[in-house]
């Protein structure tokens, strides 16, 4: 510690020196470490002092020259001691005052920094502020921040008149990480050449981000208060940085979510909203998108009276690119199916692959797709399968078959030639195309729903209508997965081939109609045609049609309560002397006592309740049973002989 000689000390020394001189001294000096702090007179005498007094524990010495009685020595010692104490105390006071002023300055600077950063969510700007302030407050050449997030490249930000090489900054960070309790490094052997000294502190951000601040080349040396100050600045900016980074992530997430929303809209918009009704077929298709939409698509296209095209595909990947590619693929399939005079579905896939391969390759995606072409009259089915799975064929009286894909997905090889395989459907056969979102669904234990489980479920639902099969499967997969969220789209197309007015050995004709007032007319027309073809009396035709119309109206209104997805199966058995009408529906069980049904009195002007009474009055026999979830109605009309 170098003591400063103030004016006050000089005065005190002067009076002390005058005292010594009065008792014979010629010169008095206060010396510190061989340097003369103060002397009276200023000139150093050329001879040795007669009296030299040291202060114990300090480097202060009092030298007295001249002819002085040595018994004054203890007095000299005491005087010097007092003087030294005074000087030390004064020095301490001065440094404390200085420190207080400095602390005050720093607090003000920190406050200003807080104000400046409070509204900033810009990461580079915050880092800039941090480094500028640190540089200013700590009097260094420059500073840098190294942000390292797991599995990502480091982000380096520096503020310096003489920029450092990134490797040098990383080297300083490595030094610090090796010894995190140390903040100051000045060893020229370990530090990169560009740094004389460096102080490292960590920037407190989230756990997954490690961030260090380095401040380098301070004039003089870093002190403990410097560390504290740097930590305070880092602490403050760190909190603000975390906010800024979270904000940035939130903005990105919002952008992504918006993209997902648009992708979902694109996908939903292109999926068919209605399905065609084709005589002799029971068709159902649906797609349940996952939260982050996959690229499933399907379509069922009524090509002409007798041919139906259906498609189901899955574009790899998610988000906007998948949605757009799906949309383009779907459009090409639709256009080709409607306008192209193709006879085999592989012709459409060749075209799709040829047109789209480049686009798919560009984004590193591809699509699986199964395309079917069905002759609705004969049941001749051609399918072409580019990697789509699972496809099940459920023959009416045999075990279900999983049909493996014969060809590679579309969008991989533009010269690939697709193939067609053919199946002859017989009445009662069911064909099911689905996306892997069903069998590959997992429960919380990580088990897969699986292809076998799916096959077994489909087999057990074989007697039901297409919609019921699909709903049973969806419900079963949901039950299996429990609370595990749906990870992929689940899309299914089911086609039950009934044959056009399926005729069985007993001369019965069966058709299934959707439960709505419009479609039940199809059954009535059918009855009229059947009876007319057999030359039944017009009166009988009218009565039978009225009875069937009334019965079906009741089923639509009461069994299915206007549920438009319900189905009614009507079987008409004509014999020359009677017509047997049987219906089957899976709606609400009818609770009815047929023996007490009466026609309402017309004068009461009732607006309903005529249906059953009309049926009873025109038919010879009316029966209702309910078993295993099915309502069965049977009406018999004896026909007048022509």
């Amino acid at each position: 510690m170098v003591l400063e000689i103030s004016e006050k000390h000089r005065e005190i020394f002067k009076s002390l020196a005058s005292g010594w001189m009065r008792i014979g001294a010629t010169c008095v000096q206060l010396v510190q470490d061989k340097e003369v702090l103060i002397g009276q007179p200023d000139t150093v005498p050329p001879f040795v002092p007669v009296l030299t007094t040291h202060i114990h524990g300090s480097d202060l010495t009092l030298n007295v020259y001249g002819n002085v009685d040595l018994h004054w020595a203890p007095s000299a010692e005491a005087t010097l001691d007092l003087l030294a104490k005074l000087m030390t105390a004064d020095h301490d006071l001065d440094s404390m005052t200085g420190a207080l002023v400095e602390t005050q300055d720093r607090l003000v600077a920190l406050y200003e920094l807080t104000q400046a950063t409070r509204r900033t969510l810009d990461v580079p700007l915050l880092l800039d502020l941090l480094l500028q302030q640190s540089k200013h407050l700590l009097d260094v050449d420059g500073g840098f921040v190294v942000l390292k997030e797991k599995d990502k490249k480091s982000i380096i930000h520096q503020v310096s008149e003489t920029p450092l090489h990134p490797a040098h900054m990383e080297a300083a960070v490595t030094l610090y990480q090796r010894d995190p309790n140390r903040n100051i490094f000045k060893d020229s052997e370990t530090l990169p050449s560009s740094m004389r000294n460096v102080m490292m502190v960590s920037l407190p951000i989230r756990d997954e981000v490690s961030a260090s601040v380095g401040l380098f080349n301070k004039t003089g040396n870093f002190t403990t208060p410097d560390i504290k100050l740097a930590k305070a600045i880092a602490g403050h900016i760190g909190a603000q940085l975390e906010n800024a980074m979270l904000h940035k992530e939130a903005v990105e997430r919002t952008r992504l979510e918006t993209e997902m929303d648009i992708a979902r809209q694109v996908q939903t918009a292109i999926l068919p909203q209605t399905l065609p009704h084709v005589d002799g077929l029971d068709i159902y298709a649906t797609s349940i998108p996952a939260f982050e939409v996959g690229g499933d698509f399907f379509d069922v296209i009524d090509r002409s009276k007798d041919s139906l095209v259906f498609a189901l595909g899955d574009v790899t990947g998610k988000g906007m690119p998948a949605a757009l590619l799906m949309s383009m693929s779907h459009t090409i399939i639709k256009a080709a199916s409607r306008n192209m005079p193709f006879t085999h579905p592989h012709q459409v896939l060749d075209r799709l692959n040829h047109d789209m391969a480049t686009d798919f390759t560009k984004v590193g995606m591809f699509t699986t797709v199964m395309l079917g072409l069905l002759d609705c009259k004969t049941g001749s089915l051609h399918i072409s399968n580019a990697g789509q799975s699972p496809i099940y064929y459920l023959p009416v009286d045999k075990e279900p078959v999983l049909l493996e894909a014969q060809d590679i997905p579309v969008g991989i090889l533009d010269t690939y030639k697709y193939s067609t395989q053919s199946i002859q459907l017989t009445p009662g056969d069911i064909f099911i195309a689905a996306s892997d979102g069903f069998p590959e669904s997992r429960n919380s234990a990580g088990d897969m729903y699986g292809y076998e489980r799916m096959k077994a479920l489909l087999a057990s639902k074989r007697g039901e209508c297409a919609k019921e099969i699909a709903e049973s499967l969806l419900a079963d997969v949901n039950t299996f997965c429990g609370r595990q969220p749906q990870e992929d789209d689940r899309t299914i197309v089911i086609i039950e081939f009934q044959g056009n007015s399926m005729k069985n050995l007993h001369g019965a004709e069966t058709l299934t109609v959707p439960a709505n007032f419009k479609d039940i007319r199809v059954a009535c027309d059918h009855l009229r045609t059947l009876l007319a073809r057999n030359n039944a009396a017009p009166e009988d035709i009218n009565l039978c049609e009225l009875a069937l119309q009334e019965l079906l109206t009741n089923l639509v209104e009461h069994a299915y309560e206007d549920n438009p997805s319900g189905k009614i199966t009507v079987t008409l058995t004509y014999q020359p002397d009677q017509l047997h009408i049987a219906t089957k529906d899976s709606g609400t069980p009818a609770i009815v006592n047929l023996s007490v049904v009466a026609m309402p009195e017309p004068h009461e002007l009732a607006e309903g309740g005529y249906g059953l009474a009309i049926i009873q009055s025109v038919m010879d026999e009316v029966k209702h049973t309910y078993e295993n979830g099915w309502n069965h109605w049977q009406l018999i009309k004896k026909l007048s002989q022509n």
């Binding site: 209104e557 026609m599 002007l605």
Partner: protein, 114 residues
Amino acid sequence: MSLEINATEQIIKIADITLKGRLDAFEAPTLRKLCDTYVANEYTHFVFDLTDVSMLDSAGLAVLVSVLKRARLKNGDVRLVWPREEAASRILKLTKFDQVFVSIERTDIVPKGF
């Protein structure tokens, strides 16, 4: 004593509705909606010309009954021009509404019978 005359004017609104085709559960709501509009606009007398109705079921009949009920509440009435087709007239006989509805002949633009 001079003659006292009290003259009031009465306007009777007649809706003359001609139907063609099948009047069944599918079409009944359309007809019902039309009639609701007439009733709301204070029409009290209705003519339904069923000449060319090919088929009538209980849902179609219910609309006619509903109009009749509301017409009578306002001292109005309903007249039917009988359907040509047996398939349409059958239900009127079965439900005995042929005894409730008064039938008229279609002779002119302004129907007779009221």
